[in-house]
C-alpha cells in the first residue's frame, strides 16, 4: 500500500508530534511504501521513508501554497493519506481532498494545535472542515506515549519500553484497520 503522511512537524523539530510522526513512518515502512510531506528543507533522514520538504523560511502564504501543490501531486499515487492535524496541513488538505482518490485519515495527535483550534474560531472552523473531508478521524487518546529515555544514572526503563512497544503495536493494528 502507498501511504502518504502529511505533517506540519518532523525531526529535526523537537515536539512530541514530530517524534511520533517519524516513528509512525519508520514502523509503517516495514510493511508499506511510505512517503512523508513536511515543512522544512532538511527533514531528518529515516530508513525506508521517502521525505519531501517544503521550505519554512518563506511567508506563511507562500509555503502553504507550495505545500498544497506538492500534496496535490503526491496524493495521486497514494492509497492512504494520513494527515496530522494543524492548520498548515489542514488547509492544503481541505483544498486538495476533493481531487483525491486516496482514503484520508485525519490524525488528531497534536494537542497544541487542538488547543489553538479551540481558542481561534477561524482555525476551529478549518479543523472541522478537515474532519469532514477525512474518511476517518484518529483521536489523540489512541496515540502511543513519548518514547521512554534511557538515562545514564538510572536503571533501564524496561517496563516503560515494553509498554511503549505494546502501545505502538496496538496503534498500528488499529491504523491498519482504517487503511482498508
Amino acid at each position: 500500500m502507498n501511504i502518504l503522511i502529511c505533517t506540519p512537524l518532523y525531526p529535526p523539530d523537537v515536539e512530541n508530534t514530530a517524534q511520533y510522526v517519524q516513528e509512525l513512518a519508520r514502523r509503517l515502512a516495514g510493511a508499506h511504501s511510505v512517503a512523508v510531506l513536511t515543512y522544512g528543507a532538511l527533514p531528518e533522514p529515516t530508513e525506508g521513508v521517502v521525505l519531501y520538504g517544503v521550505k519554512k523560511e518563506q511567508s506563511a502564504l507562500v509555503r502553504i501554497w507550495r505545500y498544497t501543490g506538492k500534496l496535490f501531486a503526491l496524493q495521486k499515487n497514494a492509497d492512504v493519506v494520513v494527515a496530522i492535524n494543524g492548520a498548515s496541513v489542514e488547509l492544503p488538505l481541505v483544498l486538495t481532498a476533493p481531487f483525491a482518490r486516496a482514503r484520508i485519515i485525519l490524525n488528531d495527535v497534536d494537542e497544541r494545535a487542538l488547543a489553538v483550534h479551540r481558542k481561534n474560531a477561524l482555525l476551529g472552523a478549518l479543523h472541522a472542515l478537515a474532519r469532514a473531508r477525512a474518511r476517518v478521524v484518529c483521536a489523540l487518546s489512541e496515540t502511543p506515549p513519548a518514547k521512554p529515555e534511557i538515562l545514564p544514572f538510572s536503571p533501564p526503563p524496561v517496563a516503560e519500553q515494553a509498554q511503549y512497544e505494546a502501545s505502538w503495536k496496538a496503534h498500528l493494528e488499529h491504523l491498519e484497520t482504517l487503511f482498508i
Binding site: 523560511e57 529515555e149 545514564p152 544514572f153
Partner: protein, 366 residues
C-alpha cells in the same frame, strides 16, 4: 605589549572604574565588596582576547538597606554598554518568544541606569547551596540535560520566527561555522605548523557534513554554557550570561559544556555522550561531534591568541593549554575518550603554573 603592561593597564582600568562607580552606587544604595574575585588572576588576559565587543567590569556588592548580595556590571565603553543593553533585550525577547516552550530563569534586575557616560546594571546575586562541580555527577547530568532541553525548545524555523529574533540574536549556519573555523585554523597554524594535518582533517569533515550542521540549525543555543555562567538554587537553574545566546546548531552549547567537562568531570562528559548515543539519531550524534570539533578549535585558537600578551608562567601555562586542547581535538575526532594520563599531566602542570590570584579567582567560579 608584554604581560606586565597588559596586567598594569587592566588593574588601572578596574581601579578607575571602581573609583568612578563607588560614589554613584552609594547614592543608589549599594556598597562594593572589598575583594573583587571577578577582576583578578588571568582575567586581564582573557579580557584582552575576548572583549572585541567592549570593556566592562563585573563587581560584587551588597544592598545597603537589605544586606542582600548583588552583582554589578559597569561599563563606560560604548561597545561594553551595547553589550549590557543587548543582554537586557535578549532576556526580554526570550520571555516573549511564542515558539520557545521553555525559558531560562534569570536573576532579578534591580537597577539599570546611565550615570553620565557610565551604564550601571545591578542584579540579584544567586547564592548556591553548593557549586555545580561539587554536586554528584548524576545531579550534574540531570541539570545539564534540563538546560539543554530548554534551549532546544526554542527553534526558529519560519519566516515569522526569523523576523522576530533577527534584531536581537545572532544567527549562524554552516557557512558561518566553516568561515570561522578557517580563521581558527589559520591562527593555530601560525603557532604550530605540525597541527595543520589534524586541522585539515577536521575541516574536511565539517565541509563534508555541512548539511548536518544546517539540519540541526536555528535552535537557541548558549555558546558559553559552563558552570560559571549559571547558578542553581532550590533546584532552579539561573542563567547569568545572556550575551552568549544565539540561534545556531543545537549542539553548540552541548559541545562547549562537554569540552569543558572533558577536563573538569570526564564522567559527566561520557554520560552526555552516552545519552545522545542512546536517545538521539545518528545525525544528531554526528552534529554533536562536529560542534565539539569546532568549539575545540576555537579554544585552541583562543589560547594561541593569548600567547603574545603573556609571558613567564602564564605563557608556559597557555602553551600547555594549546597542546592539551589539541590532544582533546584528536580524541574527539577519533571518537575515543581522552587518556587519563594526558588529563592528569596537564592538571598537574596547570596547578603548578597558576598564580595565587588566579587560584583565588577560580574558587567558587564553577
Amino acid at each position: 605589549m608584554n604581560t606586565n603592561d597588559t596586567k598594569a593597564r587592566w588593574n588601572d582600568y578596574v581601579q578607575s572604574e571602581i573609583d568612578a562607580v563607588q560614589p554613584l552606587l552609594e547614592t543608589a544604595g549599594y556598597t562594593l565588596d572589598d575583594e573583587q574575585p571577578h577582576v583578578m588572576g588571568e582575567r586581564y588576559v582573557i579580557r584582552a582576547v575576548t572583549t572585541a565587543s567592549g570593556d566592562k567590569v563585573v563587581l560584587l556588592g551588597t544592598d545597603s538597606a537589605t544586606g542582600e548580595r548583588v552583582v554589578i556590571k559597569v561599563s563606560a565603553d560604548e561597545e561594553g554598554k551595547k553589550e549590557l543593553e543587548h543582554e537586557r533585550r535578549s532576556k526580554e525577547l526570550l520571555l516573549k518568544l511564542h515558539f520557545a516552550y521553555d525559558v531560562f530563569v534569570t536573576p532579578r534586575e534591580l537597577f539599570f541606569r546611565q550615570f553620565g557616560k557610565r551604564l550601571v546594571a545591578v542584579y540579584e546575586y544567586i547564592e548556591q547551596e553548593k557549586q555545580f562541580v561539587d554536586r554528584p555527577t548524576s545531579e550534574q547530568f540531570t541539570y545539564a540535560l534540563c538546560a539543554f532541553k530548554a534551549q532546544e525548545g526554542a527553534h526558529a524555523t519560519t519566516h515569522r520566527h526569523t523576523k522576530l529574533i533577527r534584531n536581537v540574536f545572532e544567527t549562524r549556519n554552516a557557512s558561518g561555522y566553516l568561515a570561522e573555523y578557517k580563521q581558527f585554523k589559520e591562527t593555530i597554524v601560525t603557532f604550530d605548523l605540525q597541527a595543520e594535518p589534524l586541522l585539515e582533517e577536521v575541516y574536511a569533515l565539517l565541509l563534508d557534513k555541512r548539511e548536518i550542521i544546517d539540519r540541526y540549525g536555528s535552535f537557541l543555543t548558549h555558546t558559553d554554557f559552563v558552570p560559571h555562567n549559571f547558578r542553581i538554587k532550590d533546584g532552579v537553574i539561573y542563567l547569568l550570561d545572556y550575551s552568549s545566546l544565539r540561534f545556531g546548531n543545537k549542539y553548540e552549547g552541548w559541545a562547549r559544556f562537554m569540552n569543558f567537562m572533558t577536563l573538569y568531570n570526564p564522567e559527566l562528559e561520557q554520560a552526555l555522550t552516552q545519552y545522545v548515543a542512546d536517545n538521539r539519531s545518528s545525525g544528531e550524534q554526528c552534529s554533536l561531534k562536529l560542534m565539539r570539533l569546532y568549539r575545540l578549535s576555537e579554544i585552541v585558537a583562543f589560547y594561541v591568541g593569548t600567547l603574545e600578551k603573556a609571558s613567564g608562567s602564564l605563557k608556559d601555562l597557555n602553551t600547555a593549554r594549546v597542546y592539551f586542547w589539541l590532544d582533546v581535538l584528536r580524541a574527539v575526532l577519533d571518537d575515543t575518550p581522552l587518556s587519563d594520563k594526558v588529563r592528569e599531566r596537564y592538571i598537574e602542570l596547570r596547578d603548578s603554573l597558576r598564580s595565587e590570584d588566579e587560584k583565588k579567582r577560580q574558587q567558587g567560579l564553577h
